[in-house]
């Protein structure tokens, strides 16, 4: 038995569903973009190793050996901060918590830097 292919004119309900789908596309892209900007990892650069990427979970403190001594980076609730560093100015410690993708801080005298990373970074680089 051959199945007959019949084409009918779309009804109001079909058009409404199509319209709804079209409206959902930009909304989905917006949600997707937001989800991507949430960092889930931290990249730490130090003079004695190549850059390493650590997960932002679980909460913990990482001790990183630098040129002058040990810098401590605390990870908590998806954010990170320097809690101590052997440099004189302590700018890295004073900068506080960093929670955005691409955000980060370097202790230049100790040659230790951290950058927060999202699964697909919103920005390829930060200008400041």
């Amino acid at each position: 038995m051959n199945a007959a292919l019949t084409i009918t004119r779309p009804g109001i309900g079909d058009l409404a569903i199509l319209l709804l789908c079209l409206m959902l596309i930009p909304l989905s892209l917006h949600w997707l973009g937001k989800a991507r900007s949430v960092p889930d990892a931290i990249r730490i650069t130090s003079p004695d190793t190549t850059s390493k990427i650590y997960s932002l979970a679980p909460d913990r403190t990482l001790n990183v050996n630098g040129r002058l001594g040990t810098s401590s980076i605390e990870i908590s609730n998806g954010s990170a901060r320097f809690t101590s560093s052997p440099c004189s100015g302590k700018h890295c410690v004073l900068s506080g918590w960093h929670s955005r993708s691409g955000s980060g801080m370097a202790c230049l005298p100790n040659r230790v830097a951290m950058t927060l990373l999202a699964p697909d970074d919103t920005y390829d680089g930060l200008n400041y």
Binding site: G102, L108, D124, G125
Partner: protein
């Protein structure tokens, strides 16, 4: 079928490409290079050469640690013709051009004033210098017009010239770096020298996208997609400095007053010439809200974004077309269409 073959070939090429990211502490800052490449070895070789070159330039151009630039400064004060090291003369010549274009607001010859403020040291001072000491230097401040050039030889006509090319050196180095990467066959890369960036080509799926950090430290102010060869540089009063009696003293000194510039919070410049973008962001920060448009015209930069102390954004029409401002990032946006 030919159409299908082209699509399959493109997919194959895409699958073999990757964005390689390498970081290193060079040129006194953290430098990151991202390269979109299908030849990992070629990219790594190019980046290693770049980092090595930056290390050398950092030593050559250092304003206060012994090297070619400090040797040049010492000879410039002696009023005699001499031939500087090869890496120095082009920097001096271009610095003089940028000094003139900025009407003296970008002045690499006033290293003595920068040193007086304590910025020629790894450890910053506890308090600013005495007013009398600032006035003393300001009364007879050297400028780049005190340097004469003749076929690769130079001569200084001021006893107190100390060259501090910090206001354009990173830009000049990044220009050198992008040229080096291109010579190594790199056609798609993003070079980030401590927050100042230049792009080559694109990321593949889109242009290299740069976020401009809000000067208040809270997230991102705006974003810019870089065209091939474009650079974005920002100078701000939140950069290197120290606090004394509840005031912040930063390292961008106004040559007219002898004190840190206070006419704006930050200035961002987008331009294909990294050295010009670097020097212009410095000069326009010094010019401040009242004078930035005139200096932007004389420095031939038409894509400028300035943040004032009230949180308002001032920008050229050229920048307005390129920048994407984040929601709620600014109190007010003022366009300067005549620049």
């Amino acid at each position: 079928m030919p159409g299908l073959a082209i699509v399959l070939l493109s997919l194959s090429a895409c699958q073999s490409e990757e964005v390689l990211s390498r970081q290193s502490f060079v040129f006194g800052t953290l430098v990151e290079v991202k390269i979109r490449t299908s030849d990992r070895d070629q990219a790594i070789d190019a980046v290693d050469t770049l980092f090595s070159r930056f290390d050398q330039l950092h030593t050559d151009w250092h304003a206060w640690k012994l090297g070619d630039m400090t040797a040049t400064s010492a000879k410039l004060s002696q009023d005699e013709w001499f031939t500087p090291a090869a890496s120095i003369t082009p920097v001096l010549e271009y610095s003089q051009q940028l000094y003139r274009d900025s009407r003296g607001l970008f002045n690499p010859a006033m290293g003595s004033l920068i040193a007086l403020w304590g910025f020629h040291a790894d450890t910053l001072p506890d308090k600013p210098p005495a007013e009398t000491a600032i006035d003393s230097i300001l009364r007879n401040l050297p400028g780049m017009d005190d340097i004469e050039f003749n076929n690769g030889r130079v001569r200084g006509h001021h006893p107190h010239i100390i060259i501090d090319a910090g206001g354009m050196a990173k830009g000049y180095a990044v220009d050198t770096g992008t040229e080096l990467l291109r010579k190594h066959g790199i056609n798609n890369a993003l070079l980030n020298a401590g927050g100042d960036l230049c792009g080559i080509g694109n990321r593949g799926d889109r242009a290299w996208r740069v976020g401009i950090r809000h000067p208040n430290g809270q997230g991102v102010l705006a974003s810019i997609d870089l065209s091939d060869g474009e650079c974005v540089f920002t100078s701000g009063d939140y950069e290197r400095g120290y606090d004394y009696e509840n005031r912040h003293y930063h390292h961008i000194i106004d040559p007219r007053t002898g004190y840190p510039a206070n006419g704006a919070v930050s200035v961002t410049v987008l331009h294909p010439d990294g050295a010009r973008a670097d020097a212009a962001s410095t000069a326009l920060l010094v010019a401040g809200v009242d004078g930035w448009q005139d200096i932007a015209r004389s420095m031939k930069v038409d894509k400028v974004l300035l943040v004032d102390h009230q949180g308002r954004l001032h920008m050229t029409a050229g920048m307005q077309k390129r920048v994407v401002i984040r929601d709620n990032a600014a109190q007010e946006i003022i366009i300067a269409p005549q620049v």
